[in-house]
Amino acid sequence: MASQPATLLIVDDEPQVRKLLETLLQHEGYQTLSASSGEEALQLVARQPPDLILLDIMMPGMDGYEVASQLKGDETTAGIPIIMLSALSEPSARVSGLETGAEEFISKPVERVELWLRVRNLLRLKERGDLASHSRELTQRQIGMSVHDLAHQSLENDLRQAVARNDFTVHYQPKVEVPSGRICALEALLRWERPEYGAVSPAVFIPILESLGLIVPVGRWVIEQVCQQIAEWQRGAIGPVEVSVNVSGHQLIEGDLIADIARTLARTGVEPHWLEVELTEGSLMENTQHTIASLQRLHAMGVKISIDDFGTGYSSLAYLRRFPIDTLKIDIAFIREVTSNPQDAAITRTIIELAHSLSLRVVAEGVETQAQLAFLKEAGCDQIQGYLFSRPLPVETLERLLLERLESP
């Protein structure tokens, strides 16, 4: 963000809503202006163009749709991002809002994190000059697919409910040491059984949790579950097992991940080195200074750090050296065709050598065939996980597997 704090214009006829938004936004370091009607808003914008506008749809006199159309129709104000606010959450309100050219839509009551995320995102896009393409894309998506939008809305609602009730489970996928074939660690994976639909892929619901600002509490819950589980195994016949947990970039930026982890480890009595956090390459690139500082604190505590999906992004060596990393996980896309695509094979070999030159462990995920395993073994990969050995398992099944392995070494 620029050194000057961004100025946000709040347009709402209800004084208590204006007050609430002012407080929330000022707390995040923004300057605020307020208008109690559409007419007043247009005058204010003409006098002092803000960096972003939060615009209530239902107002007496000129409503939000009209204000947005006027502002977006005027060349001098079209570049100011608009977030529409409405108590109506039906897709039709959303679609009409976006048709006027508004960039985003938030339903009331406004949630702090959601507000903050959308504001921050739009200000960033504006700074980069990507706003036009963002709203074009959004409008097309929303108008062209209102059936899809309805389905999405209901999915969001179900997810909110699942979060409120902790309706998730954790499954564990074994990681196997390549030379010995021994189970050496586990990856914890979040599962959600949507009522009346069945299991929903994390690839679908995790991004929604992120956009709703709910990934922080859910992420915290997963870490608690995992630590309790390790503690339980530690006390029983299985013994302590290293478990990695996927962490979203949002948890590093919005929540206090480090404090959450420290507290949970202390409460459950799990030694930090049994826990590993997996972050994607992409999430490391965001907010780099803050991310490096957070990861250094985690690492200093003794928690291990792994880079997930490695190799698809800007995977430079200089940048790897800046982060306190223990493990690289080769992106599944390279493993899929490692035995048939020479480029993927070369990238896989490169990542393995790169990791070893930095004294890091390398894990290959998505291993499904003996031929892939043979390649990885020959290339010197340290650990594998994938259906060839085992799919992610519910706790009871996994425990049986771990105990069998203990009995027949």
Partner: protein
């Protein structure tokens, strides 16, 4: 497999590029500055050159312009490695005679794709 010359002053970038190229079966020559790069290009006749744009002393653009004026090296395809993503910068690499450019930090797949394309274009039938 053909050999490839990397002209790059940053050791970490060079190591990564070399690893990627060696694993794809290329042999690799390395120069840490433009002058050495020019000499190696003339003497070793690499099949392709990866040229960092920001080099100490003579920069990569000036070096490419010299390569492209020299009948001994003019035929060798040059890929500019640039940290600059602006349109004007891309235009500069084109004017200097670069055949392609890659923005750093490099993406593994992209590097392979650009190299393969250029090498295929430059294989001339024997007459």
């Amino acid at each position: 497999m053909p050999h490839i010359l990397i002209v790059e002053d940053n050791e970490a970038n060079m190591r990564l590029a070399r690893l990627l190229l060696v694993n794809a079966g290329h042999t690799v020559l390395w120069a840490a500055d433009a002058e050495t790069g020019l000499t190696l290009a003339r003497e070793q006749q690499p099949a392709l050159i990866l040229m960092d744009i920001q080099l100490p002393g003579m920069d990569g653009l000036a070096a490419t312009a010299l390569l492209k004026r020299d009948p001994l090296t003019a035929h060798i395809p040059v890929i500019a490695l640039t940290a600059m993503a602006m349109k004007e910068d891309r235009e500069k690499t084109r004017l200097a005679g670069c055949d392609a450019y890659i923005i750093k930090p490099l993406r593994y797949k992209e590097l392979y794709q650009v190299i393969d394309t250029l090498l295929q274009q430059h294989i001339r039938p024997l007459t």
